[in-house]
Amino acid sequence: MVKGLYTAYTGLINQQNRLDVVTNNLANATTTGYKKEGTTSQSFDSLMAIKINDPTSANINQNIGPVSLGVKIGENYRDYSQGSFKNTSGPYDFALSGNGLFSVSFTNKAGEESIMYTRDGSFQMAQDGSLVTKDGDPVLGQDGPIVLPTDATISTDETGEIYADGQYIDKFAITDFEDNNYLEQYGENMYKAVDGATKKDATATVMQGYLEMSNVNVVSEMVQMITISRAFESNQKVMTSIDETLQKAVTLGQL
C-alpha cells in the first residue's frame, strides 16, 4: 500500500524533471546553434515479491512476481541533427553544415584556460583583429587563436580556410568526436569534453554569412509537454486513490 505511494511519488518527480528539459528546449527555441535535449526514463531495478504468512495457502511462501518500485531518469541526450540556416550576411557569422564543432579558448573565473566546443558561429572581431565569440573568448585556428588583418575583406571556403583579400590566413579548428556522449554541456552554447573523449576529423563545411538556428521541433515539444502533464496527472490520481484507500483502512476501526 504505502509502497505504491512512493512509486507514484517517483513518477511525479520524474515528470517534473522531464518538463524542466522540455521547457529549456522551448526557452532556447531561437538560440543560435542550440541542440535539443531529451530525457529517457528508466524503471528501478525490479524486485521479487513473495507472499508470506498467508494462512489460506498453509503458510507456504508463494512467489507473486517481479515488481518495480519507481522510475528515474535513464539518460539525458542531445540531438545533434542539423539546425536550419539563417542568412545574416554578417562577415563574421559562420554556420557549420554537417558534423563538427568550432573550438574556442575559454578562460574561467579562476584564470584556467581550457578548450570549449560550440556550434554557435556568431563571432566578431576584436580591436586587435582577433576573432572572438560574442563573450570575447578567442576562436581557435590551426595553431592558436585566429588573428585577422583589420582592414581586409574576410572570406572563407567550405573547408574552413580563412582568406583576407584572397590571401590565406588560418583555418578554423573544427573538431568532431567519436562519441558525442563524452561532451558535457557547459552553458553559454558551449560544450566541454570529458575524460575519454576521442577526437576525429570533422566532416562539417563552413558557410560564411549564415547562422545555424536551433533544431528544436516545436510540435514535438508541445506534444511532449501534453504527455508530461497528463502523466503527472495520472500519478497524482494514483496518489489520491492510495490516500483514499489508506483513509478507509484508518477509519475501519472506528464505529
Partner: protein
C-alpha cells in the same frame, strides 16, 4: 517544478528583447544610415539532475543527466552592410560607399561618428559651417570643423568621390579648396557605442578610429554627393523574425501554463 517556471520566464524575457529589437528596426526603416540590429541568444547554466545515467543499452554514460536553466541575450549587434542610395536634392547630402563613418563634434566636443550624411550649411561665426541637422559641426580629415569662406555660394560647393571639397573658379572649373571631408573606419564597428540621433561613439571594443586620409593600405570609402544612404533593414527578414519571436514567446507561456497546472495538481494532493 519551479525550475521550469523560471526557465520559461527567461525564454519569455529573451523573446521580448527580440521583439524590442525587431520593432526598433521597423521603426527606423526610413532612418538615413540606420543599420539593422539583431538579437542573439545563448543557453544559460546547466545543472545536474542525476549523476549516474545509463544509455539505452544499459551502459554507463560518461556524463551526468544535465538540465539547462534557460536562455539569455548574448548580444544585440548591428549589421554594418551597405544601405541603398537614395537621391537627394540637397548638395550638402552625402552618402558613404564603403566601411567609413563621418565624424562630427558632439554635444560636449566629443567626437561622434555617423553614417547619416544628411548635413546642412549654416552661417557660423567663422563662415559657412557644415553641420548635421542637430547643428553638430562635421569634421574634416584633420579633425577640424569644416568651415567655408563666407563669400562662397554654398550651392556651388561640390565634393569629389574622395571627399575633397571643390569650388568653381572664374572659368567654372571645380578647383579643390584644400578641405576634405573626414572619413574614419573601425576595426570592429559592431563594438561602437550607439547614442541618440544616429551617432556612434568609440569604445575599447571598437578600437580607435582609423583616419582614411592618412592611413596607407586601407580600402578607402567613396563619397557620393547629393545622395543619402537608406537603412539596410530588410522588411521580409524582420517579419519572419517577428513571427518566430512571437511564437516562441507563446510557446514559453504554454510551458508556464503546464508548470502551473502541475503545481496545482500537486497542491490538490493534500485534501
Amino acid at each position: 517544478m519551479l525550475r521550469s517556471l523560471w526557465t520559461a520566464a527567461s525564454g519569455m524575457n529573451a523573446q521580448q528583447t527580440n521583439v524590442d529589437t525587431i520593432a526598433n528596426n521597423l521603426a527606423n526603416i526610413n532612418t538615413t544610415g540606420y543599420k539593422a540590429e539583431s538579437a542573439e541568444f545563448k543557453s544559460l547554466l546547466y545543472q545536474n539532475l542525476q549523476s549516474k545515467t545509463t544509455s539505452a543499452n544499459g551502459a554507463n554514460k560518461p556524463v551526468s543527466a544535465q538540465v539547462g536553466l534557460g536562455v539569455r541575450t548574448a548580444s544585440i549587434s548591428s549589421n554594418f552592410t551597405q544601405g541603398s542610395f537614395i537621391q537627394s536634392d540637397s548638395s550638402s547630402s552625402f552618402a558613404i560607399n564603403g566601411k567609413g563613418f563621418f565624424a562630427v563634434s558632439g554635444v560636449d566636443g566629443q567626437t561622434a561618428y555617423t553614417r547619416n550624411g544628411s548635413f546642412n550649411i549654416s552661417q557660423g561665426t567663422d563662415g559657412l559651417t557644415l553641420c548635421t541637422s542637430e547643428g553638430y559641426p562635421v569634421l574634416d580629415s584633420t579633425g577640424a570643423p569644416i568651415v567655408f569662406d563666407a563669400a562662397m555660394n554654398s550651392s556651388n560647393i561640390t565634393v569629389d568621390s574622395d571627399g575633397n571639397f571643390c569650388y568653381p573658379d572664374a572659368s567654372n572649373n571645380p578647383v579643390p579648396i584644400g578641405i576634405s571631408i573626414g572619413v574614419f573606419q573601425f576595426a570592429n564597428p559592431t563594438g561602437l557605442n550607439k547614442t541618440a540621433a544616429s551617432l556612434f561613439t568609440e569604445t575599447g571594443a571598437s578600437g580607435v578610429a582609423i583616419n582614411e586620409a592618412n592611413t596607407a593600405g586601407i580600402n578607402k570609402s567613396k563619397i557620393k554627393q547629393s545622395y543619402l544612404e537608406g537603412s539596410n533593414v530588410q522588411v521580409a527578414t524582420e517579419m519572419v523574425n517577428l513571427i518566430t519571436a512571437q511564437r516562441a514567446y507563446e510557446l514559453n507561456s504554454k510551458a508556464i501554463n503546464a508548470s502551473d497546472e502541475m503545481l496545482q495538481q500537486a497542491n490538490s494532493l493534500k485534501r
